[in-house]
Subunit: 242 residues, 2 copies
């Protein structure tokens, strides 16, 4: 039983400071998403998993609960836990580890795709109420001198409101998710690269977007958003292609 024949635990993941349930969940999750455990298959019982990983059943339960929350498995009382088919997975996560350097550039690329198109759609679909909310965020940005907490927050709201103005709930969700992830990583960059005096540049870019939205000009909105994102990327040391 101690042999690695089953290929189960064999402690991969050099076990950092992560908690036990996280590690167990990560291992199981990888096995499943790699297809090493076919959909429909029953997982080993919680007791066996506990024995295999050398942890208590409680830890295994927390791990399985997480897999269930992500829609990877379906635990049926009295029967067992079964791996679900991929189409039932309903969560997507981006771990902070993937956000260094290359990851940041890729995330900006994805952001550009979504937001330029969002700006285009918003230009034709926005209501007066939408414009009002977007304008309010703009004013909040204008109030600040430096590019710090308050204005960064207003920036986020600005982008999110534009996404919301498309009337597409999914676009809003995805855009605001990506923006928040990026913003979280900006703080670090800010300490390294002082960009305080770039507020005016930033504001100018936002103004152009807002004007285009108000004018209901899709092409201009898209172009302005693209220009803004290229600038924003550059300001955090990322070059955005196209």
């Amino acid at each position: 039983m101690s042999a690695p024949s089953h290929g189960w635990p064999t402690d991969e993941t050099p076990l950092s400071a992560e908690l036990l349930p996280d590690r167990v969940a990560a291992m199981l999750s990888r096995r499943i998403s790699e297809g090493a455990i076919a959909p429909g298959t029953r997982l080993p019982t919680e007791q066996k998993l506990a024995a295999l990983f050398g942890v208590s059943r409680n830890v295994v339960r927390e791990a399985v609960a997480r897999l269930r929350a992500d829609g990877l498995v379906d635990a049926r009382q009295g029967v067992g836990s079964f791996v679900l088919a991929p189409e039932r997975r309903l969560a997507i996560r981006i771990d902070a580890a993937a956000l260094g350097g290359e990851g940041m550039a890729q995330l900006f690329e994805l952001r550009a795709i979504l937001e330029t198109e969002a700006a285009r759609l918003a230009a034709t679909r926005r209501t007066e109420a939408d414009l009002e909310r977007i304008g309010a965020a703009l004013e909040r940005m204008r109030g600040e001198e430096r590019w710090e907490e308050g204005s960064i927050d207003a920036d986020l709201v600005f982008h999110r409101e534009i996404a919301a103005a498309t009337g597409n709930a999914f676009i809003e969700t995805f855009v605001s998710f990506i923006c928040e992830r990026i913003r979280g990583s900006i703080r670090h960059a800010r300490a390294i690269n002082p960009i305080a005096d770039l507020v005016e540049v930033n504001l100018g870019e936002h103004d152009r977007i807002y004007a285009a939205l108000r004018a209901a000009a899709p092409d201009e909105a898209e172009a302005a958003m693209r220009a803004h994102l290229v600038g924003a990327a550059a300001r955090v040391g990322v070059t955005l292609k196209r």
Copy 2:
């Protein structure tokens, strides 16, 4: 202590057949995302939460573990669990409930935005190995007569491989997530609207995409992908604008 003065549990959510940890997690999650519990605030201790909800600490732990996995709270040993600021959330979920009618149309719109751009990028970045994988998926589709399990699966792989060919891991993740969600809902539609003989149409559309990718023609790839998605949407009773 039994008073509702604190405004905590007072059992909202008419408690369906959901499990206890799910219910507790859902309640806490709603409080947090609604802003009823400000970021930085410390949650009640696990014991108090257990008492408030009338469940065991074990259940509370599973609920809190889920919140932590979603990045909503940060539990520090010996101190407590604290609500995190929104920018640290690292999970996004789409619940199946939102996918009826309007939701489906919106999801297709988002898909179109991502995949048309993905096709454009893939056209210039794809390697020979990418083309091989995409072609293999195409062949698997061609083998099937009807539009059923096997070919639907191959269809998914086809789209995912194109997204992967962009070299952008996030694009791949998001696209495959969306495709899988859509596919899950297709099954139902298929029973209603027999589209078996549309295989050839579908295949033709895919062929055009593949040819454009092989020819490294971005504009054609984008156009072919857009045409395909418009068709695919129509086949499930959704009209895609633009």
